[in-house]
Amino acid sequence: MDFDLSEEQSLLKDSVEKLIAQHYDFEQRKKYLQTPEGYAPDLWARYAEMGLLGLPFAEAEGGFSGGAVETMIVMEAFGRGLVLEPYFATVVLAGGLLRHAASAAQRAALIPAIAAGELRLAFAQSERQARYDLSDIATTATREGTRWNLSGEKSLVLHGDSADRLIVSARVSGARRDHDGIGLFLVDAASPGVSRRGYALQDGTRAAEITLAGAAGEPLGAPDRGFSAIERVVDEAIAALAAEAIGVMAVMHETTLDYLKTRKQFGRPIGQFQVLQHRAVDMFVAIEQARSMAFFATMMAGEADAEERRRAMAAVKVQIGRSGRRVGQEAIQLHGGIGMTMEYKVGHYFKRMTMIETLFGDADHHLGNLAALGGLIAV
């Protein structure tokens, strides 16, 4: 085992961190939030130039053959900047579905466009009734000659409002919550039968409610074998979110430490109060535990045995969720009133962390799953 980055990985880390440091200070980010897309289109182009948008795809298909470690590096840096661009939606989620489910022809058609920054995708998966159950899909796909028609309501589609195309999960056969009979379909977001309602999440990132009324979809791979790809991609997504969470938590901690050193009350920096020192230490311990689990997630993201992978990601999500909540609440508390304001950065990290806690299942949900699977240590 070796926790050190290779030379290439270090270069990647340095360049992404530099980009974020240059383009993602608090004031710049505020401006990006004001745009219609809710992010900075010119930065999207920069990500493409740097090779970030093609990172996880095979070289032969127009990518850079990066693995889970590379994704971790990018997502952690993006967490530090509270990056708004649809990287997670396009590259991690939709890109993952292309890697695991699409045909060679589809990959050849789409991946170069993604890598070039010309195609933004979103994964239209969750539905109102589903909560965190990935197989709870009521949207239907029905065949009419050579054409597939999709109908249903998709909810909380990350960056669904600005995506050019959607990858929609839909039921081809079987009952609600069956694992079999779920297909993945590529849908042009501007096509007839697709209507979208975009909105901001609590942290300012964008999402959409999407109604499909007989919209045309092109199956990704075999039209009724989508579920294992969905599970796999969501596990990769949890690993990516874990890395992002580390970036988010690290900034909250650094900001808090700075504040403890500079804020004076009772004639001294408040960081001299031992009780606050211990609180900062507990935050640190919580982050290090989370960081370890982010490494575990990265290690297990490519695990082929689905049950082992699910078990690992449940554990990861529990740790990330718990550490994140603790660190976020403490960061606000140790700042006092200033931490409660929009004008100050720590609250924005707290809100992003709260979204990460919820995405793809909160800590309690995953604790339940992990317990049902018998925990991590086999008897």
């Binding site: 969750s126 109102r128 009734q129 909560r131 965190y132 159950d133 709870d136 909810s155 909380l156 919550r177 309602r197 909105y199 901001a200 999440l201 609590q202 300012g204 999402a207 409610e209 004076k264 009350q265 009772f266 004639g267 408040i270 109060f273 009780v275 606050l276 909540r325 609440q329 606000i332 508390q333 006092g336 009133g337 931490g339 409660m340 304001t341 929009m342 004008e343 609250g347 924005h348 707290f350 809100k351 709260t354 979204m355 919820t358 995405l359 909160d362 309690d364 949900h365 604790l367 339940g368």
Partner: protein
Amino acid sequence: MDLAFTKEEIAFRDEMRHIFRNEIPETIRRKATEGRHLSREEIVTSQRILNARGLAVPHWPSEWGGRDWSPVQLYFYQDEMQQANVPPPLPFNVSMVGPVIASFGNERQKRAFLPRIANIDIWFCQGFSEPGSGSDLASLRTSAKRAGDFYIVNGQKTWTTLAQYADWIFCLVRTDASAKQQEGISFLLIDMKTPGITVRPIQTIDGGHEVNEVFLDDVKVPVENLVGEENKGWDYAKFLLGNERTGIARVGTSKERIRRIKELAALERAGEQRVIDNPRFREKLAAVEVELKALELTQLRVVANERRGARGKPDPASSILKIKGSEIQQATTELLMDVVGPYAMPYQPQFEEGWNEPPIGPDYAAPAAPTYFNWRKISIYGGSNEIQRNIIAKAILGL
């Protein structure tokens, strides 16, 4: 010792319950239940209805509208009001500046202010905190210099809750810069319309506007607006902060929140199972209920004790109420987030103004995350929970 409530006390409770649930407009109570912000007008309406029935200031001296109730009666009054989601009479008026004027003000001030404070004809805000003086309040720098019949006030207050609605502000100001910190502070009442006062909004992380900065620039305040003696303001502030502390426990509010969480958890499903039937969720909820029951009795004990103690000297045990009460309230906001799950994520500020677009997810989900964010404040204001622990360590444990 008799630990049961008497028949009379129970009858009193039922009377309070009846009044709160029947006299305050349902629309106002509904808004409070749903976690929406009340307008100025709604807060005023509710307090005037209470005041007309002698229920705005029962804890004041009887000549100014107080009812001479026992601690148990006061407890039922508060508990029933909170459980009915009746907006409490404005705390800045009835729990803070009112009791200070009643205890330390002169006759003219009492006559001029107390009835109008009780009836919220005047809305007061609290000008204590400053950018450099939060926990260390006694270091405050806003100065008041005597010039004939006036004080000239200069400085800045911050975190001033609902200053945008306020007619008056009660301020701690420094009147003697050469004295020891605590001994140079005075308590002034200032009309917000006085030239030189600027209010700037501060937006909180939930997107709301409830706090402000208040700038005071050569503000002329008549000397007659000094409460009590010059340079004795710190004593009055301590008296006031003790009351504020106790008020933050909000046991009835938490009871009502838990009830609502149970209702909503019965509507939400995860798969075939209702959220309320999930054993893990039930255990989490039950654990909070245990803490709340304990707090309820602790509060009754503290209040009974304070009654016996010296006037103007709050029981340091009230810090227990502040710590536990805030933690429990915050825990309920997390439980509501658990209930709504992914639908805590959409930011839907329009739910405040009435729905003009259909809600995203269930209509009760919109306030869950904003309330979770906003209620982080409860462990910060009213003396942060760290400061409360310092008080207990010193004043009770002798450390």
